[in-house]
């Protein structure tokens, strides 16, 4: 399969995403430049971490106006897969492809650490091969990763099973001690109503090798591989929740 990795001028994790696709997954990687206007046949587009345009204004606020984003939005509207990690998640929220927003960590400090992300739903292409409730140890590294949304949106997200990851402790319990940034409901990642767009703050691409960061992140990429290999059908163990 073909993965497109977008490089905004301030992207920092694009090289790592490309490395994972080519060397760990053995798939085809397409390096996409923010001034490009088409995705060159990518099945799944990764918006990587970093500081897209410096992000002195609001994270991702400028990236949504870049030429490549028009192609990404069109791809998503057609049902194509989009994976936004960290800054990529922020951009997806700014671009309106995902609900909610990411604001300054409650600690007001940048935080780099390992967290445990609990998988809340397997009814997405990104988690279809995983077990519901399973725990992934993944790194986070962000200053603005506190997920917020208004009450109505949060209720809809829950009702439509769009919360994909939550911060949890080693026993899988979700609570304030396990929350690294103040995110509402310990939300670490959400998907779109159509389930083809995922944004998450933890970095699965930095947990794909035993030597550096462990291998828990592979579950996300392997899910996408299987899902596309099976013709794009969800193999999730839950029925897909339809929008009301």
């Amino acid at each position: 399969m073909r993965w497109g990795v977008v490089t905004f001028p301030g992207s920092n994790d694009d090289a790592q995403a490309l490395r994972v696709v080519e060397r760990v997954l053995g798939d085809e990687a397409i390096a996409l430049w923010h001034k490009d206007v088409d995705l060159r046949g990518a099945d799944c587009v990764i918006l990587p971490g970093g500081f897209s345009y410096g992000d002195y204004l609001r994270c991702g606020a400028m990236a949504k106006f870049s030429p490549i984003m028009a192609a990404v939005v069109a791809h998503a509207r057609r049902g194509g897969l989009v994976l936004g990690i960290c800054n990529g998640f922020q951009i997806l929220c700014e671009a309106g492809l995902l609900p909610g927003a990411l604001v300054r960590n409650r600690s007001l400090s940048f935080v780099c650490d390992l967290v445990i992300a609990r998988i809340e739903t397997t009814a997405t292409p990104f988690t279809a091969s995983c077990g519901r409730g399973s725990l992934l140890t993944l790194p986070i590294k962000h200053g603005e990763g506190c997920y917020v949304a208004d009450e109505t949106t949060l209720a809809e997200l829950e009702a439509r099973d769009q919360v994909v990851f939550r911060y949890a402790d080693a026993a899988g319990r979700v609570g304030p001690e396990a929350n690294p940034n103040g995110s509402l409901g310990n939300i670490a990642g959400v998907c779109s109503a159509e389930r083809n767009v995922l944004g998450l703050m933890p970095h699965p691409e930095y947990a794909t090798e035993r030597l550096v960061g462990g291998e828990d992140g592979l579950a996300v990429f392997r899910s996408v591989q299987s899902w596309l290999r099976d013709g794009g059908r969800s193999r999730g163990d839950e029925p897909r929740v339809q929008a009301p």
């Binding site: 030597l211 550096v212 960061g213």
Partner: protein
């Protein structure tokens, strides 16, 4: 300001003494223009000319088969095999960080990154050596938060991982903090770029940010003078950093370096356009003609002197081949950066700058650099020295509750966890960080190979205060031992020599002693100094900092998978101490924290003994005998044992030791040349043989077991509880 207004008084405002101004007139055969005076002011400043240190720096060993580039370029470079070079340097940004901690520290990181990628190397790791005043000094928490925030801001945004560093608090830094930033990059050894202008007619190209009024006279007035009560008024001389632009500059420069367009490249750091142009011309024995009207400006109305001296960040000066202009412009435009041909290389040996049709500078390049003053300032051992070294162990009372003492040490500012600091740094970006901060040295995989780099910065300034020679020896030795502790072979050093006012004989004496110590230790360990920086005038109102020669050591692992960490791995592993514990508490952290004494000579050191210890450890690591390894340093054996329990699964240890010495000396003394290792029992025989062959004392202390650290009848420390206190101590006191 008219040309005729230049006098010795105006020269003094530019940081030049009356004698130096007379020399300027002599070199030129006339009075300088105002712009020329500005050029002399920065080029002959301590910061740029090393006039007080140059004569002594020549004593340092700088050569060896591993050295590709020694001091004199933007950064040093050593061979790391497979056709690659590690390119690295450490540099101070002390004065700006005290005045404006966030921007001061941020631009310190930005400056050292540019030094490294100017050489053609992609930066792979940052480390920072930080020194602050007492934690209970009212300004310290503000400074700590600002500096840590600034380092994180710049490093995180540009996408280079911050993988380590060191941090000490001492009253000696109350009014002069230290921020020493280190960057290591990796380049192909046949694609290193240098800063030698060549080829008359070749265009000189300005790239990066526009030029503004920030940082003017940073080098001459801020970095080359001591502080007094008016320090805050120097804030406008601090530059402002833009890591996003630097990221663009980094990527654009590396892209250009993949082509054959570049003849020479130099970053615009201290003293800006002036120093980068003059240094490139000087190294290449060439001249240069600059048209200041073509320099991209942030705002109109800058004077030619301001354009020449601005220290605006994120700028580079290139000499490219004739005919390459369009290709170079295309690359920088693609990255949305300023690019402007502002001059050309000439063959008349003169640095000329034109502005509005007038020649504002015409300076002989060779004379300007070669006739720069070199001072052999008087040096004298201070009277306090002998008194400080006096210490009687027998007169020291021994505490009753040693577990309580250990907890007190683990919570003390210099020994508690640094997690609060490094959690604010992106340690992972790049995907090669194998050992994150918190170990003896960081380990970073070398992209595309099975090898790894080990990186550390070290200096115990208490040792240096008590004996500036031995303290410097110990800084080198400990840095090497930290690299060995992760299983790497020490390769080379970059040094950042932080001292007080060199015009004071006692400071000059400390400096000379420090150089001698680094020289002797680096010669013994075969780790040449390939780059570095001198920071003088770390002094406020006549009080100077403790001598602080920070040593950055780079080591190499042939197999990065074989790296070691300090943390216990498995119940039942044997715990062995390699090296001898002497009955010495002098100069220790224990003495300072528990007894309030800064006294005695630093711990005994013998460089042959140290080398033998390091050989045993490296052999054991290479044969994969060890489960863990940890240098025994500040806080002694007890603190080292606790630290081995604090990482990983939080395993405890059962230790039995028999010695005839005082319990506090045994537990908290800082005897050198010791390594604490754990290993499977079946490897004990082999390790004993290796130790015996090198005549290194070998003592089985006990084994990894349980969830407490138990040392005979002396210590019983529950790990979970102690670790929580050790981790909380810093954020509680900084208020983070």
């Amino acid at each position: 300001m008219s040309v005729s207004a230049v006098t010795a008084d105006v020269a003094a405002d530019h940081g030049l003494t009356a004698e130096e101004y007379a020399k300027v007139v002599e070199v030129l055969g006339r009075a300088p223009t105002f712009e020329e005076l500005g050029v002399f002011g920065v080029m002959w400043s301590e910061h740029c000319s090393y006039k007080s240190s140059r004569a002594w720096l020549r004593q340092l060993p700088t050569t060896g088969p591993q050295v590709i580039q020694g001091p004199g370029e933007n950064a040093g470079a050593v061979d790391i095999g497979e056709g690659l070079a590690a390119v690295f340097k450490i540099e101070s940004h002390n004065h700006p960080s005290f005045i404006e901690p966030f921007q001061g520290a941020a631009t310190g990181v930005g400056g050292i990154l540019r030094d490294v990628f100017t050489m053609g190397a992609r930066p792979v790791a940052n480390l920072d050596a930080l020194r602050f005043g007492r934690l209970d000094h009212p300004r310290t928490p503000y400074l700590v938060k600002g500096v840590v925030g600034g380092i994180g801001h710049y490093g995180n945004c540009i996408g280079v991982p911050t993988v380590g560093g060191d941090l000490y608090f001492d009253a000696g830094y109350d009014h002069n903090i230290l921020v020493n930033a280190f960057t290591c990059g990796v380049a192909r050894r046949d694609r290193l770029f240098r800063a030698r202008a060549a080829g008359p007619g070749n265009p000189v190209v300005y790239v990066g940010s526009r030029t503004g009024r920030d940082g003017i006279h940073g080098a001459s007035l801020l970095a080359s003078a001591a502080f007094d009560a008016g320090a805050a008024a120097k804030r406008p001389a601090v530059q402002v950093g833009d890591p996003f632009t630097e990221k663009l500059l980094l990527e654009a420069c590396l892209e250009l370096m993949g082509t054959d367009h570049i003849v020479a490249i130099q970053d615009m750091g201290a003293a800006g356009l002036t120093s980068s142009a003059l240094e490139m011309a000087g190294r290449g024995a060439a001249g240069m003609l600059l048209d200041l009207d073509r320099v991209p400006l942030r705002e109109p109305g800058l004077t030619p002197a301001e354009i020449l001296l601005s220290e605006s960040q994120e700028r580079m000066l290139l000499v490219v081949r004739q005919g390459s202009e369009a290709a170079v412009e295309a690359i920088f435009r693609r990255w949305d950066l300023e690019v402007s041909v502002i001059g050309r290389v000439t063959d008349d040996g003169t640095f000329r700058a034109r502005w509005h049709g007038r020649e504002v500078c015409a300076l002989p390049v060779a004379a300007l650099t070669e006739s720069a003053p070199v001072y052999r300032r008087p040096a004298e051992e201070p009277a306090r020295f002998e008194q400080l070294q006096h210490f009687e162990l027998a007169a020291l009372r021994e505490p009753a509750d040693l577990t309580e003492v250990l907890l007190q040490l683990l919570e003390s500012p210099n020994l508690c966890s640094r997690e609060w600091v490094y959690r604010q740094y992106d340690q992972l970006v790049g995907g090669n960080t194998a050992v994150r901060p918190g170990g003896d040295a960081a380990v970073v995989r070398i992209e595309g190979t099975a090898r790894g780099l080990a990186l550390t910065v070290d200096c115990n300034s208490r040792y240096c205060l008590l004996d500036p020679y031995l303290g410097a020896v110990l800084a080198v030795v400990e840095a090497a031992r930290n690299v060995v502790a992760v299983g790497a072979r020490p390769l080379a050093v970059s040094d950042c020599l932080n001292y007080g006012n060199p015009e004071r004989p006692d400071v000059m004496w400390e400096f000379q002693q420090g150089i001698a110590g680094i020289r002797d230790a680096c010669l013994a360990l075969d780790t040449p100094v390939v780059s570095g920086n001198v920071s003088f005038y770390n002094e406020t109102d006549g009080r100077s900092i403790p001598p602080t020669p920070v040593i950055a050591m780079v080591g190499l692992l042939d197999d990065v998978e074989a790296h070691l960490t300090p943390w216990w791995k498995a119940e039942g592993d044997a715990i062995v101490l390699l090296g001898r514990t002497r009955e010495e508490l002098n100069a220790s952290e224990y003495l300072a924290v528990v007894h309030g004494l800064v006294r005695g000579a630093p711990p005994w050191i013998d460089l042959e003994t140290e080398k033998r210890l390091q050989r045993v450890c490296l052999a054991a690591a290479t044969e994969r005998l060890l489960s863990s390894a940890h240098d025994v340093a500040e806080g002694g054996l007890a603190v080292a044992l606790a630290e081995c329990s604090f990482g990983g699964a939080g395993l405890g240890a059962r230790i039995t030791v028999e010695s005839g010495m005082r319990a506090d000396a045994l537990l908290f003394g800082e005897s050198q040349s010791r390594m604490l290792v754990s290993l499977r029992r079946r490897h004990l025989g082999r390790l004993r043989d290796l130790a015996r062959r090198e005549d290194v004392p070998f003592t089985v202390l006990g084994e990894v077991r349980g969830s407490s650290l138990v040392i005979g009848e002396m210590i019983d420390l529950p790990i979970e509880h102690a670790r929580a206190r050790w981790r909380r101590a810093l954020p509680e006191r900084v208020g983070g």
